[in-house]
Point group: C2
Chain length 325, copies 2
Amino acid sequence: MNVKLFVSILFVALGSLHAQDPLPSWNDTAPKKAIVTFVENVTKEGSPDFVPPNERIATFDNDGTLWAEQPMYFQFLFAMDRIKALAPQHPEWKTKEPFKSVVAGDMKGLLATGEKGFLQIIARTHAGMTTAGFEQIVRDWFKTARHPRFNRPYNQLVYQPMLELLAYLRANGFKTFVVSGGGAEFMRVFASDAYGIPPDQIVGSMGKLKYEIKNGKPVLIKLPEVLFIDDKQGKPEGIQNFIGQRPIFAFGNSVGDQQMLEWTAAGGGARFMGLVHHTDAEREWAYGAESKIGTFSDALMAEAKKNGWTVVSMRDDWKTIFPPP
Amino acid sequence: MNVKLFVSILFVALGSLHAQDPLPSWNDTAPKKAIVTFVENVTKEGSPDFVPPNERIATFDNDGTLWAEQPMYFQFLFAMDRIKALAPQHPEWKTKEPFKSVVAGDMKGLLATGEKGFLQIIARTHAGMTTAGFEQIVRDWFKTARHPRFNRPYNQLVYQPMLELLAYLRANGFKTFVVSGGGAEFMRVFASDAYGIPPDQIVGSMGKLKYEIKNGKPVLIKLPEVLFIDDKQGKPEGIQNFIGQRPIFAFGNSVGDQQMLEWTAAGGGARFMGLVHHTDAEREWAYGAESKIGTFSDALMAEAKKNGWTVVSMRDDWKTIFPPP
């Protein structure tokens, strides 16, 4: 065999090996092995762990699990940008908290307004318009806003290894869902395209809506009232009400996901529970127990270790973090 | 050609004609033609009415649209049976309305307790247990309860023509949903099997849930508080919050579906709005404007006619009502 032919064959062989790896952005460490083993076990007919396709439900937290969440949840950055955009029509905000601090870019002042200030900002930016109007505002924001550190549109700060995982699960007959504390209507604007998950498989927090006929046409008005908060114990509650089946696979990254993982774990048969641990200050961020955003408490880490949940270290387990620009 | 061969060929030809008819239980009247024309138009690439598969959302009311609803919504008959089953443990119910009337089978007395009595019965039978416990109770009821007129399990009183319609839409790339005033958790027990619609595509009314750890295991407790009523204006509101996309195809049978049909109709592009009209006292029931159950008001009929919505007359348009026993 001449060298040229040998090299060609080698490249074809390597190419086909690469094509067969469903998770190329994952290092060959324990988490990848655990995922692949689980998927092979539940999909192999005759295996004691076999799960029929209609029960292959996989749920994913969004912020910090499927996309980044620093320096602040992106949806809240959207809300602050929106307050700034509306400020010229509201001269009274110059002296009125929490709007004053947002417009002045005074994060310390904003934090001092606490949960009350936070809720006022969400209500002012997420209610009082039609659902179609809100969708357009969010769509426009994704087109123009850039992340302060990475200078990329926010919807490009999704995790490449998780995109591969979603696709791998779907290729194996799983139905993939987002189950997030974020707003369902906010997420649906980008998440269907970004994750390949249709709008009806995106479960999130939501406000009450009001059906009205306006100028002879029906509209849905977003009211400043909470219908449902899809966080912490709200996650299993939301899973039951919206999905109606217990997941066999769940992935999160913080204390907000603890109950979803417990609920998943408590079902019969084979189960996979995963947590993303943000350990990569260089390529992303390193944070955990002390962070206000995406808190990964020591208690959660202890629970994960005790129960054999898979903890993914971004630094050690992921080859790539974000998709190429 | 001999006669035997001719007859064989004729039978094969008829067989294949039959196999090609996706709606064999529908008469060849206007509704069937309207459905087939619509589906062909939205699925034909290059057609001005073409709709990509991910936007082919079809929503169906349940009571009176996919299954029967007389002499009373089946879920309420379940609740009354459940009160009777619990009565021996509640001697105080002998003198306490609305339970007294239910146990005595006194419909007049029950009706006199009004909405308050109705809500008490629902709260007593649909809350105070785990979601798993409730599912088991409903499952057992379906096994044992029989419809008073047809003497069949309630889950066999689904409409054969609608089963064919659901399958026809799915074969053409539609995602089919139930959007019903009935309880989501009640419906999911039978509707996934009966309609081929997975639990997460069943939108209904729902109560609040509470996540708890009981004896070291997580459970979801059904609380006697309403989270969401999926009826009338609640239908478009529920469609937006749970499905996140406007349907292009919607079917109902009563004033509870009016807003869902209006919301569907108000989207751009080709749309199909359908209403089942119960006109068959012999094979099912004949009722409409005067009925308290499944009211089909004259105003709704006028709206349907004015806007070209398809009204299906059970007597004239359906060959079969229920599947063979």
